[in-house]
């Protein structure tokens, strides 16, 4: 069976008269995913002890640079990943929402540690009981604080998620939305083939229905923080 790419190669060879192609064929989506997943620039929002653990992850012993993530950016305009590390208070939630809104798409969010995920041990009035009250979260890392290994594992899971991104494809073929993924694009979930897959902790889907601002507490609307 002759595929499109075979025809492109044949046309190229015929036109140039050469016997070998000095080019690589891929899809825009695959190229974008490949470059994005290997250059995730995190914005570390270190709010408490998890911030220290994140520093250990970035430093030479654990060395986040192995995954192309060493460029910690302290400007949201240049960051791809908001890494919320620590206890978020309602006062700081304004800042975090603003940072998130200022980040350019595509962007991802990791809630690092028990506090960012659920408020942790602080079941009290000033502490946000999980940052997903305000912004959508891609991954939650358990631990108090999580070990750098867990952070690295999460970053690798994030890379897998970025690899499966289909946004370009959906822009061209919106009818594909919700359709089962072709086999080569199916996400590799932990435990696949050994019983039901364990879903990764994604909440983007949950947020499309309800919107983060609905869950956010009265008074903080994402529109207000976009200035």
């Amino acid at each position: 069976m002759t595929t499109t790419s075979d025809r492109v190669v044949a046309d190229y060879l015929e036109a140039t008269g050469s016997s070998e192609g000095s080019f690589l064929l891929s899809s825009v989506q695959a190229m974008a995913n490949w470059s994005r997943k290997n250059s995730v620039w995190p914005l570390p929002l270190g709010l408490s002890c998890c911030g220290i653990e994140f520093m250990a992850t970035a430093a030479s012993r654990y060395d986040m640079a192995r995954f192309g993530m060493e460029v910690a950016r302290f400007s949201p305009r240049q960051a791809d990943l908001l890494l919320v590390a620590g206890t978020l208070t309602y006062k700081m939630a304004h800042v975090m929402t603003r940072l998130y809104d200022q980040m350019a798409e595509p962007k991802w969010v990791i809630a690092m540690g028990a506090c960012a995920s659920s408020g942790g041990m602080f079941r009290s009035y000033p502490v946000v009981q999980g940052i997903d009250e305000f912004i959508p979260v891609d991954f939650y890392i358990p631990g108090c604080p999580p070990r750098p290994d867990a952070v690295l594992n999460c970053l690798m899971e994030l890379q897998k998620k970025i690899e499966k991104d289909r946004s370009y494809r959906l822009a061209l073929k919106p009818e594909d939305e919700g359709a089962p993924l072709p086999l080569d694009e199916a996400p590799i979930l932990p435990g696949r083939g050994e019983g039901p897959p364990i879903a990764l902790s994604t909440t983007k889907e949950r947020f499309t229905e309800e919107g983060p601002q609905k869950r956010a507490f009265r008074g903080i609307q994402p529109e207000e923080t976009r200035r």
Partner: protein, 176 residues
């Protein structure tokens, strides 16, 4: 939710032992209820002498203590919420100190929800932030305060966290 009980604090018309004569003289003409003092150790009030005045007399009593009894140091301000004591559920508590004699005096007055208490910022500048904190946590407004806004919580925070009827776990997270 049951809060602390005030019933074990006893009030009397005369000052307990150990209160300086100058302090008693300064409060002449003001309707004052005394509590505490030497020999009484209360889990809430300690052994410091305390006076309770009406809201209307609060600023007058503070002024007298400041001007005539030499209470130069404003130590702290807070409030206590007794939700079962209606309508005046709040007791606003101010701790004053006389730096010359090392005497402390606790000045109290009651307020209902929404009722304001005179601000003491005109007498002690230190009252500014302390009263803001009381306002932030209990929602007791202070009349005449130069900048009565929340000091710890964000300005748009919903509720008064130190009130007894405020949910312990905080906000709306588990109510949906």
């Amino acid at each position: 939710m049951p809060g602390p009980s005030e019933s074990s604090i006893t009030y009397q018309d005369t000052a307990p032992e150990g209160v300086a004569e100058a302090t008693i003289a300064a409060l002449e003409g003001i309707d004052v209820k005394w509590s505490g003092g030497e020999g009484s150790v209360h889990p809430l009030a300690g052994s410091y002498p305390g006076i309770q005045v009406d809201r209307a007399d609060y600023l007058k009593a503070a002024q007298a203590l400041h001007d005539k009894a030499d209470f130069a140091f404003y130590v702290d301000n807070t409030a206590v919420d007794y939700p079962e004591r209606q309508p005046q559920r709040f007791t606003v508590v101010t701790v004053l100190m006389n730096l010359k004699t090392q005497d402390r005096l606790i000045l109290k007055c009651r307020a209902a929800e929404g009722e304001s208490v005179p601000s003491l910022t005109s007498l002690w500048v230190a009252a500014n932030w302390a009263e803001r904190e009381t306002y932030d946590m209990f929602g007791v407004p202070f009349e005449g305060h130069p900048d009565l806004s929340r000091i710890y919580m964000p300005q748009d925070y919903d509720g008064w966290p130190m009130r007894r009827d405020f949910p312990l776990q905080g906000h709306l997270r588990f109510q949906d």
